[in-house]
């Protein structure tokens, strides 16, 4: 909102610099977004001059040589001028030698194409009065020759662009702002005086202007008044009024409309003036619009209304969209003689909904939807009538018509001294507290509870609907006492038993682990395109991830994986040749399972090996097992030994992974975690213009899984005696996976050892396929490691176990021992 410094001074005697006012506004909660100096800047040595002669320049077609009088009794100066819009006898601004024009342009006597010029005749733009640079600024009002221009145009002004928070509609006016500044600077503040209206002489029948006001939408319009004014003289507004309106960026229309706009910006109460002749049937009805009812608003647009919008109508049609904008059909214009002035209170919700539906926000709707003073209707009308009589004459035809009533709530709030002290954290003296409330027009009385505790009973003025409870009063006191006076304090740091959430710790650990292995963390948007999702993830479910109101098709679905984003990053970096090839991201991803979406905490990485990487020695391309090693490392960070789980088949419902070189472990909906890893599909990489190999992994966990308490590891003794090893090669079907064969073998070994000593490990050290084996067979060689806690193992006892193991394998399994 624009606040004019000059205007504000109508209500307070403010003698502060612009900087002080700016700071004050900021510190009491009205952020200043901009400051604009309007009117003429300070221009010494720029005076009114009169052109006495104008002759062609001897050496330049476009220039003239003028004789210009700049002192009433003095000699004319010779001035060379390039403009063409003036004639002899015109008065224009003249910058004398020594003047400095806005922008730092210094005027001095100089030869222009051979002719000495002593000064410069100026355009409006050159002296900072607007944008008109087309020609000289002709001073039509013919001020005296030699008068400094600053005397001719004394109204310099400063306009503050102020941000008013939605809880403070009372400050959407100059009066409201003046009240706040008065409270802050501790200076007196006065309302504009309202005079009694002169009596009508009875020559005009009030009913010929308006007979009746009816409010059908009582809920949305609790108070409506209409004031009849006859025989106004429509014309332009006087200078003072024009200046006020211009200072806040308004265009003057005519004296009646200008007064209603002025009062809106003065008091914050929107008003509407109807041309009485245009009200059919001499009645105004406040009602809900009919569905499909049309109105052409003042901005020239035809608008279709609905029953959720309120209008003020005459006997036949809607004249204004209530509280928002008038129509062409009821406007005051040059031919207007009699006026009906509306001043009303409309409910904020109704106006907000209408304004939003119409996509039409006006100075009026902006104030109604935040809430005008419910007790301010009559005062604003009277103020406007005073001004109308001042600028347009006319006579008031009493009585005014009224429906409903002002409904100022008699609100009192008790503020305990101790409550104020506790919430503020420091003591503000009684007098200061009381002065603050007084300056905000609250009534203050100091009281005592029965137990002797002190409190204030604060009466809240009607325009402060935002003050509802004691804490609101604490805010007012702190605000106007000055937040810069809050004493410094100590940080209260009492230890609480609460650990960081597991997801936070896990992400930190994942990030450290991957960064330590040369991966660069990236961040991609959570919303991705539906097309991408469908392409990657052919099994339905895409719809569940769609947001209802996307801003664009590129960002319409929740991300189901971090991999696509990381591929985008790799593509961009490969294209830009930045050399980035190992990336990771942590973040939330969304999985559709059985018709419901699970939000999971995910980490994903890609290690890309570019086939065309130029390097003096080629780097090794990663393979499936690199991805597996990394994902297992991540698993350990959250207490999971992923290597111990049999990998499931990759659900090839998505084409992201290379068949035969990828695996999945766990299931998000069943176990609460899920890992996918291996090589990314080579064809897919190509689509991303990534020629090469990419090992990748995704590890997702539900927050519920992460929060599960993990027992602290308990110490197991370690043996200081040597281990005994025996190797055993098994011929198995080539489809059998290593971990199953190992698990089978291990259970036999453990059993056959019969707790005589420990089976420390059964590990796979060789895989063989080919000569000596059938086509669908492979040989897996395991090393069995035995050890005892208390002794060196004897050959014999180990051999006995080994023999029993071999017999058991032959007896119990389909595996063949390869000798």
């Amino acid at each position: 909102m624009k606040i004019s410094y000059n205007w504000i001074k109508d209500y307070i005697e403010l003698d502060r610099s612009v900087e002080e006012v700016e700071q004050a506004l900021t510190l009491i909660g009205f952020e200043v977004d901009g400051i604009e100096e309007t009117g003429l800047p300070d221009l010494p040595k720029v005076v009114v001059g009169e052109v006495l002669e104008r002759n062609p320049h001897p050496n330049a077609d476009r220039l003239s040589v003028c004789q210009v009088l700049t002192e009433p009794e003095g000699e004319p100066s010779t001035i060379v001028c390039g403009a063409d819009n003036y004639k002899v006898g015109d008065r224009v601004p003249v910058a004398l030698p020594g003047a400095v024009l806005p922008g730092g342009f210094k005027i001095k006597s100089a030869k222009l194409r051979g002719v000495m010029s002593s000064g410069m005749m100026c355009s409006a733009k050159e002296i900072g009065m607007g944008d008109d640079a087309a020609g000289l600024w002709i001073l039509d009002q013919r001020p005296p020759v030699g008068q400094p221009l600053n005397e001719v145009f004394p109204d310099r002004d400063t306009v503050f662009q102020v941000e008013v928070t939605p809880n403070r509609p009372d400050c959407l006016s100059h009066l409201g702002m003046a009240r706040e500044l008065a409270a802050y600077f501790r200076i007196p503040f006065s309302y504009p005086e309202v005079f009694p209206f002169p009596e009508s002489n009875g020559s005009v029948d009030p009913e010929s202007l308006l007979r009746k006001v009816g409010v059908e939408s009582e809920e949305n319009c609790p108070h409506y008044t209409a004031w009849r004014i006859a025989n106004v003289k429509i014309g332009p507004s006087p200078d003072w009024l024009v200046r006020r309106l211009r200072s806040v960026g308004l265009r003057p229309i005519n004296n009646i409309v200008d007064v209603t706009n002025f009062v809106l910006h003065e008091l914050g109460q929107p008003l509407h003036a109807f041309d009485a002749a245009k009200i059919e049937g001499q009645k105004l009805i406040v009602r809900q619009a009919g569905d499909g009812e049309k109105i052409t608003t003042l901005d020239g647009k035809e608008r279709t209304l609905s029953s959720r919008m309120m209008v003020v109508a005459d006997a036949r049609k809607a004249l204004i969209v209530a509280g928002v904008m008038g129509s062409l059909d009821a406007e005051v214009d040059e031919s207007t003689q009699n006026v009906v002035l509306e001043s009303a209170y409309f409910r904020p919700g109704s106006i907000r909904a209408t304004s939003k539906r119409l996509g039409l926000s006006t100075d009026s709707s902006y104030r109604f939807e935040r809430g005008v003073d419910p007790d301010g209707v009559a005062y604003a009308a009277k103020r406007a009538i005073n001004l109308i009589q001042e600028v347009a004459g006319g006579e008031i035809l009493p009585p005014y018509l009224e429906e409903g009533a002002a409904f100022a709530l008699e609100k009192e709030i008790n503020l305990d001294r101790i409550y104020l002290d506790e919430r503020a954290g420091f003591v503000i003296p009684d007098e200061e507290v009381e002065r603050i409330f007084d300056s905000l027009e609250c009534t203050v009385s100091r009281k005592q509870h029965r137990d002797g505790r002190e409190y204030w009973q604060i009466g809240i003025p009607s325009f402060r609907g935002d003050l509802d409870s004691p804490i609101d009063l604490v805010e007012e006191v702190v605000r106007l006492y000055g937040t810069d006076r809050i004493p410094s304090g100590e940080v209260r740091g009492i230890g609480l038993v609460r650990e960081d959430d597991a997801s936070s710790r896990a992400n930190h650990d994942f990030g450290c682990a991957l960064a330590g292995q040369g991966f660069q963390e990236c961040m991609n948007y959570t919303l991705r395109s539906g097309d991408e999702l469908k392409k990657w993830y052919s099994s339905g479910g895409a719809d569940s991830l769609a947001v209802m109101n996307p801003l664009s098709v590129e960002q319409s679905h929740l991300r189901w994986s971090l991999i696509p984003g990381l591929l985008d990053v790799l593509r961009l970096n490969q294209f830009r040749k930045t050399g980035l090839h190992r990336v990771f991201e942590t973040g939330h991803t969304f999985y559709e399972r059985d018709g419901a979406v699970i939000e999971a905490n995910s980490v994903a990485f890609i290690w890309f090996h570019n086939d065309h990487q130029q390097c003096w020695r080629e780097a090794q391309a990663p393979d499936f097992y690199n991805a597996k090693a990394i994902i297992q490392g991540l698993g350990r960070k959250v207490g999971l030994d992923l290597g111990a789980f049999p990998p499931g088949e990759m659900r090839l419902t998505n084409s992201a992974w290379q068949e035969g070189h990828s695996a999945t472990i766990g299931d998000l909906s069943e176990e609460g975690f899920e890992a996918r890893f291996g090589l990314l599909n080579l064809a897919l990489l190509k689509e991303y213009d990534l020629g090469g190999i990419a090992a990748a992994g995704v590890f997702s966990l539900t927050p519920e899984f992460l929060e599960k308490a993990r027992p602290r590891p308990q110490f197991k003794p370690i043996s200081l005696f040597p281990a005994a090893e025996r190797d055993l090669a098994l011929v198995v079907p080539s489809d059998d996976i290593g971990i199953q064969v190992r698990e089978t073998l291990k259970s036999i070994v453990v059993r056959e050892t019969r707790h005589a000593f420990t089976v420390e490990d059964v590990y796979l050290f060789d895989v063989y396929q080919g000569q000596g084996l059938e086509e669908k067979e492979k040989s897996l060689a395991f090393s069995l490691v035995f050890r005892a806690l208390d002794r060196t193992l004897q050959e014999k006892e180990v051999n006995d176990v080994f023999t029993r193991v071999q017999k058991a394998v032959e007896r119990e399994t389909s595996y063949r021992i390869r000798r």
């Binding site: 805010e475 960081d500 961040m523 830009r576």
Partner: protein, 347 residues
């Protein structure tokens, strides 16, 4: 005899030079000192040596034996050295670039987030996180946001269609799901499951239905703090944020509270800082956070007695702080992930 021994040594010294592998070495060694070796044969001649000469000849033989042994040892070491050198290749040029080298690192937003968390953890805050998909209750209702507040508009907030179900995000009743617009929802969820006192910071991703430009991102990160205890005051809030700003920006940074309005706090403030030592910042006041005392109605909605408990909350944008700290002039850099950008904030 002695000449013969000397000759054997001399021959060996000459011949060993052409022995290059360990296998050749072993057979060569056998050809000299093995059971059928030259020296072994020559030693058999000792028997014929007259008794008085034996000590002298014996001594000469021992000398030769010793010399041969030294010769073999030395040559073996040469072979071993050569083998080891062959294993690791020629000496390297230590100045060459590393093939396939990759700089790992965290994203600047992560680093700034971790720095902020670190500062608050030092004074007893712990990290609380929550879902990015939220419901209208946790994001707005419980935070005292009026039902017609503009933040709830379809214009400004992403919603999910009514049929979408979320398996692990609880609703209060049947209210709509949305993408959270702030992490304040985490405060509500935390208070609902914890008894006061509470001291948490909740970092996380938030969403506004905004078109991206240099200073706006539809996707951004916030960190919010919540402190609930007995008799918590505006002064405590100011003290904590003073501490935070000085920790983040240096001891000469100044803080200013500007009264403001948020539905969930009362009184509410916006926090500005000025830090004349930060070149790009200069001496202006720059907005960095919003804060205030928790509104009593927020406590009521989580079942805390607002007569006994009071508290404050604060929130700030991580991108904004990262931009201030590092002088980044366009928020979109953070989501573009150009290595040349990301790398600048390592170390």
């Amino acid at each position: 005899m002695e000449e013969e021994y000397q000759q054997i040594l001399k021959n060996a010294e000459a011949a060993i030079k052409s022995v290059e592998t360990r296998a050749d070495f072993e057979s060569f060694k056998a050809s000299v000192v093995g059971p059928n070796g030259e020296l072994t044969k020559a030693m058999k001649g000792m028997a014929k040596v007259p008794k008085e000469d034996k000590p002298r000849v014996g001594k000469a033989l021992n000398m030769v034996k010793k010399d041969l042994e030294a010769l073999f040892q030395k040559h073996l070491k040469t072979i071993e050295d050569r083998e080891m050198a062959a294993r690791i290749g020629a000496p390297v040029d230590p100045s060459l670039p590393v093939p396939g080298e990759s700089w790992g690192g965290k994203h600047p937003l992560t680093k700034v987030r971790e720095e902020i968390i670190h500062i608050f953890r030092r004074v007893g805050f712990s990290v609380a996180e929550g879902p990015e998909v939220e419901t209208e209750y946790y994001c707005f209702d419980a935070l005292n946001t009026p039902s017609d507040h503009p933040a709830r508009d379809l214009q400004d907030t992403y919603y999910f269609p009514p049929q979408t179900r979320f398996a692990n995000i609880s609703q209060k009743e049947k209210e709509r799901y949305l993408l959270r617009t702030h992490t304040s929802s985490v405060q509500i969820r935390t208070m609902l499951e914890t008894e006061p006192p509470v001291r948490i910071v909740s970092p996380g991703r938030c969403f506004r239905r905004d078109t991206a430009d240099a200073t706006h991102s539809a996707n951004f990160h916030q960190i919010e703090g919540l402190y609930v205890d007995r008799k918590v005051s505006v002064r405590d809030l100011k003290a904590l944020l003073d501490y935070f700003i000085k920790s983040l920006l240096g001891p000469s940074a100044k803080t200013r509270f500007r009264p403001h309005f948020f539905p969930y706090t009362e009184p509410s403030f916006e926090v500005d800082f000025s830090a004349s030592h930060l070149g790009k910042v200069g001496s202006q006041w720059i907005e960095i956070a919003g804060c205030g005392l928790v509104h009593p109605s927020v406590f009521e909605s989580v079942g805390y007695d607002s007569k006994e408990w009071s508290g404050f909350a604060f929130g700030m944008g991580i991108e904004r702080i990262a931009m201030i700290l590092h002088g980044v002039d366009d928020i979109r850099y953070f989501y573009q992930n150009d290595q040349r950008f990301l790398q600048q904030f390592q170390g």
